[in-house]
Symmetry: C2
Subunit: 371 residues, 2 copies
Amino acid sequence: MQSIPVILLGAGGVGSALIKQIVANRALHAAEYGVEFTLQAVCDRDGAVITLDAGLDDPTLLDIVDYKTRKGRLAAYGQGGPQSDLVGIVDIAGRTGAIVVDCTATEATVPALLYALDRKYRVVLSNKKPLTMDQEVYDRLTRAGATGGKRSTPRQPLTRWETTCGAGLPVIVALNRLVAAGDPVTRIAGAFSGTLGFVMTGLQQGQPFSAVVREAFDLGYTEPDPRDDLGGVDVARKALILARGLGWRMELNDIEVTGLYPEAMSSLSVNEFMAALPELDDHFRTLVEAAAAGGKVLRYAATVAGGRCTVGPQAVDAGSPLGRLEGTDNLVEFHTQWYRPAPLVVQGRGAGTDATAAGVLAEMVELAAGL
Amino acid sequence: MQSIPVILLGAGGVGSALIKQIVANRALHAAEYGVEFTLQAVCDRDGAVITLDAGLDDPTLLDIVDYKTRKGRLAAYGQGGPQSDLVGIVDIAGRTGAIVVDCTATEATVPALLYALDRKYRVVLSNKKPLTMDQEVYDRLTRAGATGGKRSTPRQPLTRWETTCGAGLPVIVALNRLVAAGDPVTRIAGAFSGTLGFVMTGLQQGQPFSAVVREAFDLGYTEPDPRDDLGGVDVARKALILARGLGWRMELNDIEVTGLYPEAMSSLSVNEFMAALPELDDHFRTLVEAAAAGGKVLRYAATVAGGRCTVGPQAVDAGSPLGRLEGTDNLVEFHTQWYRPAPLVVQGRGAGTDATAAGVLAEMVELAAGL
């Protein structure tokens, strides 16, 4: 049995779901993979629970989940304490063979991730932020330094980030394999937001924009401020990760993002914004009708093609995989030399704490078992 | 730069395409992965070209492809010779870090594959046969022996077989990750034959069965004897590989296969069979109409659920991913705890020498670079 030390950054939604799944699958991982995950540290924004022994025991782990679910801060947790230095925690709690798992949504983890990689620890990210900062940070996180030759930058086997684009869907692995096989990717097109998928489906069915956004808001499908979804920046981060996966060198600012509301509405309060939504109904009705006149449907899509990355409402062929998509599923089309005219398509739930945690756990097993 | 010795079993369609892709991507593999593939042996049914030096040079490799394309046997090739013992070739040509690639369609490679694994060489299979023989052979190929505990049979990191189900589509990796995460898979449903997809699409559009089979035959979509497709055994092998991937222990005989022609037509010549096809037109028209009456469409599907594996014409919901499929694409739905009600779906070209070779090459890179 291999014992794999785990340092978990982020103990909220995905982090808590991951802890529960690790505990629930101990027998499976032991029997099928000869692997046991021992949590050496669980950290949140300003607190941590750390052990230097053989990992936190399961009752403690489940108690942490229960505590976090009640919105507790680990700094105030019985066995926990304050933390202001994730590098220090990786230094103290890390050991040979460790996996550092980043389930946060902050750039603040980057120094700890780089420190872990310097130590040859492995890293699994569901956090998009570290991969969408400067290109140089992406390179350091996903590739080892040059090992010979003029531009020899072998991808390194220490980092996995499948769940940054579409949660547990096999999107990054599909992309990586196309790249590894030298199959030229001419276009990636995808829907990467369940919330915006819901909105576009509603528009397509003839609902006014204001009504469908209100419905999504009331159902809890949107962030507390719906502009965090409607602005498209989260989708842009995913597009950037895909573009960089193709070897393109670009920054978040290079993504051409069209949000679903005009800049002028950025300064409103949430209530004012919701009240002003009907002003946009005509605009979107016109877009949907124009698309339909050309045999197309409107999707909120990310497109990576011809050196450009565009994110926004796009009219796509009604008969294409993206055009047939309805509801909150994510969908990615890869158009390549070997996948044409019909693309390689991956589709399914692209968000949710459990689906994301399951994707993270699968990558932890892959790293641990050398799969 | 890592030099990876490769022993290639099978130099026909997929094998030849793989050689061309290896040669074409040398600069990419060196620059991006620090890897160089050196072919130590290329084998066909009864011949082989072997070198004990640093691999066959590219002009020789491309000459072998050209020679094989003209249906030449390697036994009669200039630098080649007869072979009757693949184990002996792995023994002679193999060396530390080798990858043995099986692009044949025969069970005859199994002793050589097992010998390679005993030596800790890696194995990449596009050949379904070794994984669809006795369960024990599957176990030996895909898992190492018990390393502790009562039933500890860790999956071993030495073998990859993505291209056995849907060529380069990320089907096996999706399945393996669901299993690794402990996400209970309640149902797998898929269309795994481009030929049968073409036939079912034609039926759905109102064409008589005999006409659409004749069209597929004339277009070269079918095997020389179309019954090799219509019988469903190739689809059954894929279903068995998926079921075994879930941990189910079963044999090819346990798959419930319904072919698209009655047993009585097995003894006919190909010409007689084609001439007799119109006898089946009414049967299939009835099936399509019955499905349509229930809001369904007819697909040639494999279903793995509830302990049973069934392969045959099945009426599926018209609005489901499988129901929306048209043409020759493959499609797989994974229904699980975290993917419901909508399944995780992978779709795209599921056959073809280049797409399959690209899938094999990607797995070779993954093994070589530790990805």
